[in-house]
Symmetry: C2
Subunit: 149 residues, 2 copies
DNA sequence: TGAATATCAATTGTGCACAATTTAATTGCT
DNA sequence: AGCAATTAAATTGTGCACAATTGATATTCA
């Protein structure tokens, strides 16, 4: 029962790290880490040329808190990919706005999903099914009562 | 194409962290972190009362290198759950042997897989299918040629 | 109005992951 | 035997995750 290969947790853990490892050389070409890439995906998706989402909006989407996001976003700001500005009418809130350089990076990232699959022996249909199951698991975990201690 | 919800990678990333988060309070009762728990699973599985596996054996099983394992195992040694000893006939090799306290912890961990699922609205059959697909993905990633840069 | 409360981001501290390098020991090859 | 090449673990440095706390601002309500 406690055997490693019986654990769904280990299969998830190992597969997640293997996927990340496969992204790494591709993202290195953009100068991004994997979590930075995920943050940029959200920023590209939400970008309307306006003031941009709040740190907590990114956090909600990515399931990350400010302890992770604040330093990550500061690094992206140093690379001039985005700007962090306190909102005037509520100084508690920080807005994350893409710079032009941040928007331009999107074009260079466009090929990454395809490159990732290239040379990988898995059916696209399998991946769609897997994604669906992972979403189901995530939803179940997020609405579950806290596990009994 | 670049939308966050289209990415298999994000589904994996988020689900993995959600599972880890659900383990955390259970493992806190044993004084273990999640990676420490995975290492203990391997040690319990391989334990034959002998000198124990090498650091690199654990690394191969868990897909972790010495940079991760060395400090992790030192923490478990400080807790008296295991012993790290250089092998006499080859001083390069470190053997990881469970202590009695390390073996006793297995009994306390026995209920964890079940507790994890308790209160979680997913079919066991779904989990088995998911694990199978994750294994397939991992196998494909591990035998794939390095992705084109 | 003014004090408690709530909210948001930042900070602090611990523990992974992982690349790159280092140290030490062993093996292989003349 | 002696020296290069190899192997195993440890070390160093960067960047997440996440719990807990802090600091600053806003809101609520007696």
């Amino acid at each position: 029962m406690l055997a490693l290969d019986n654990q769904i947790c280990f299969a998830l853990y190992a597969a997640n790290r293997a996927v990340t490892a496969r992204y790494r050389p591709l993202l290195a070409g953009l100068g991004l880490t994997y979590p930075q890439y995920l943050a940029m995906l959200v920023l590209w998706e939400l970008d309307d040329g306006g003031a941009g989402p709040r740190v907590s909006d990114l956090g909600q989407r990515l399931r990350l808190d400010s302890g992770t996001l604040t330093p990550l976003l500061k690094r992206l700001e140093e690379r001039k990919l985005l700007l962090r500005t306190r909102r005037g009418d509520d100084e508690r809130v920080v807005r994350i706005a893409l710079t032009d350089a941040g928007r331009e990076l999107k074009a260079r990232a466009a090929g990454i999903p395809e490159q990732l699959l290239c040379g990988l022996d898995v059916e696209p249909a399998q991946l769609v099914a897997l994604r669906q199951q992972l979403r189901g698991l995530l939803a179940a975990l997020e609405q579950a009562e806290p596990s009994a201690q």
